[in-house]
């Protein structure tokens, strides 16, 4: 029985490019406890995103086991993976990845829509999440009417709205200036202080140093 919220056992992710394999992840084992605030650091192309995508169930490993909130994700089909993405993980991306035609509120409601929640309940929870990230006055704005920092706040609200076990953020400050990035970092710190497990990819040493735990990746391997 795995009790850690994230548990990786010798995880490999190879890409077949032309005639040979790119070893994006080459045997990673990792444990992250509930409530931890972890920074993933490493040079570009070292495999950080690959690992995040695997933990977020957006991708499947070539070999090895990944346990999310105690459940082994190896061998799950697309529908089962979609369920985990919906319930167990909130994902924040560098490029925000908001639905461009929808309002901030509708963006935040979307995961709840896929969870089958009723419209009223959905709206109430989405407003709550937007209040938490300090954007309740921008609910009906579309992404193109928001600044970079505001977009990322919407994305974070969307990631926490279904109260997932893990909050994953792949370079969430990468597209922001350092001041805005620091504010976003502060928001993650607050969310962590409330007990959420946060895994956070960054290039920025200062931001990395604000995390309790740092994991360094190079060439698809962990060197803690």
């Amino acid at each position: 029985m795995v009790k850690n919220v994230i548990h990786l056992e010798d995880v490999k992710r190879y890409y077949l490019v032309g005639d040979f394999f790119v070893k994006a992840l080459d045997g990673v084992s990792l444990d992250i406890e509930r409530g931890e605030f972890t920074a993933i650091m490493g040079p570009s192309g070292s495999g950080k995103s690959t690992m995040m995508n695997l933990i977020g169930c957006l991708d499947t490993a070539t070999s090895g086991n990944i346990f999310i909130d105690g459940e082994n994700t190896a061998g799950l089909n697309e529908t089962e993976l979609a369920y985990i993405r919906n319930k167990k993980v909130g994902f924040v991306f560098q490029q925000f990845n908001l639905l461009g035609k929808e309002s901030a509120l509708r963006n935040v409601e979307t995961p709840l829509l896929y969870a089958g929640m009723k419209p009223k309940e959905r709206k109430r929870k989405a407003i709550e999440a937007l209040e938490k990230v300090g954007l309740s006055d921008r609910m009906y704005h579309r992404p193109n009417e928001l600044s970079g920092g505001q977009k990322q706040r919407v994305a974070i609200a969307r990631a926490i709205v279904s109260n997932p076990a893990i909050l994953l953020a792949d370079e969430p400050t990468g597209a922001l200036d350092s001041k805005t990035g620091s504010q976003i970092m502060q928001l993650f710190e607050e969310l962590n202080a409330e007990g959420r497990t946060v895994v956070f990819v960054t290039h920025d040493r200062d931001l990395g140093n604000r995390c309790r735990r740092q994991i360094h990746i190079r060439d698809g391997r962990i060197e803690e």
């Binding site: 957006l58 993405r85 990845n97 639905l99 461009g100 035609k101 995961p111 969307r158």
Partner: protein, 395 residues
């Protein structure tokens, strides 16, 4: 979830109006043809029944096609021969037919000129707007009297009362003959064999002796006995005529034949429309598949985001099928309007009254949904199978 998908579909359609309109064209034409087939079928059968009743379901008309061999046969006495040889006939009235111009003191119109017995009007169940039929006596004595159809009366006399007035027949030879109007027929539904409203009627004997010097009967109006089946009598009559004069020297029109003929015409028309419907729906369906594939390709990133947020393959598939069906239903709705207009145009041309059947609307909606699901399936499957990461990183 379903209404969310409909909303998504409508917003997608709004953002590319021109493309949507073009891709709908095939569906509109296809569904329009389906609606037209069903409406025309219904209108045709209703109007056939109406025309049959107008022509008299108990009337058989035999048009003669005399040649040297048979021109002596088709006399007015031959009518009696027919009546005595075939069972179930009440009366056989010979009639002569010609066309020509008729003039009042104001105007001139073209008309069908009939030479008929005085009993003709009651046999055909015709009623009079003004005046009455000429008498047996007027017929026997070759009187120059005329009964005119409703439209002819309108044309020649407008609001005046034509009874007692005179009309002039202008013959091919250039000679002019003056006749007294004794009756005006009431307006009547057009039948398959006659347009009563545009005809004038003069006594049979007057016609053969004074108007044209010819006594080869143009047609026989056979009134069947009400205890007999008209179709059966008609068959027996045909059999008798085939043996006595040969089947190429007459044409007989009975309600049965008219029904068969009309059914053949509608069947041909329906087949033609069905071919159009089939081709259009196929082309339309491929158009839908095409626009949906474009839509899926354009929204790859959106699909990636939705998958990342927990949309399962079946949810994504549902989204795009609902979009395709919304699209085809819109096309179907426009097709119903289009098809109703076709039906209106055709029935106007044929002189029928249009009956719009709700059945056709249900079938149209069914067809639209079917095309949407059938041709939307592949694009929707494509969308649902996209790899989340590849879709997210798509630019």
């Amino acid at each position: 979830m379903f209404w969310e998908n409909v909303k998504l579909a409508l917003s997608a359609m709004k953002s590319s109006k021109m493309r949507t309109a073009l891709s709908l064209l095939g569906i509109v034409i296809g569904v329009g043809a389906v609606v037209a087939i069903l409406n025309l079928g219904d209108s045709a059968s209703q109007n056939i029944t109406k025309s049959l009743n107008a022509g008299g379901t108990d009337i058989i008309t035999i048009w003669t096609q005399p040649d040297e061999r048979t021109e002596d046969v088709f006399t007015s006495e031959f009518g009696n021969t027919l009546k005595n040889s075939v069972e179930g006939i009440d009366s056989v009235l010979p009639q002569m037919m010609s066309s020509g111009a008729i003039r009042s003191n104001k105007k001139s119109v073209g008309a069908q000129i009939m030479g008929t017995e005085s009993l003709y009007f009651s046999a055909q169940n015709l009623s009079f707007d003004k005046g009455r039929a000429y008498t047996l006596e007027q017929n026997i004595n070759n009187k120059e009297v005329v009964v005119i159809g409703y439209n002819i009366a309108q044309e020649l006399f407008e609001n005046e009362n034509p009874i007692g007035k005179r009309v002039n027949f202008i013959l091919q030879s250039g000679a002019v003959k003056s006749y007294e109007v004794v009756g005006v027929l009431a307006k009547k539904e057009q039948s398959y064999t006659m347009s009563f409203d545009n005809s004038v009627f003069i006594p049979f004997n007057t016609f053969t002796t004074k108007l044209v010097n010819n006594d080869v009967v143009s047609s026989y109006v056979v009134k069947t006995n009400k205890n007999y089946d008209t179709i059966e009598v008609s068959d027996n009559l045909n059999r008798f005529l085939d043996t006595s004069v040969g089947n190429d020297s007459y044409q007989s029109f009975s309600p049965a034949m008219i029904t068969t003929m009309a059914n053949e015409v509608t069947a041909t028309l329906s087949l033609f429309l069905a071919a159009i419907a089939g081709i259009s729906l196929l082309v339309g369906g491929i158009g839908i598949m095409n626009i949906m594939l474009v839509s899926v390709a354009e929204r790859t990133k959106e699909i990636g985001i939705r998958k990342a947020l927990g949309a399962s393959p079946s949810v994504i598939r549902g989204q795009f099928i609902v979009e395709a069906v919304t699209l085809t239903l819109l096309g179907g709705f426009l097709g119903i309007i289009f098809g109703s207009f076709i039906s209106l145009a055709v029935t106007n041309l044929a002189g029928w009254t249009l009956t719009l059947s709700y059945k056709s609307f249900i079938v149209a909606v069914g067809f639209s949904m079917f095309v949407g699901i059938f041709f939307g399936w592949y694009p929707a499957m494509t969308a649902s199978k996209l790899d989340p990461i590849e879709a997210l990183n798509y630019e």
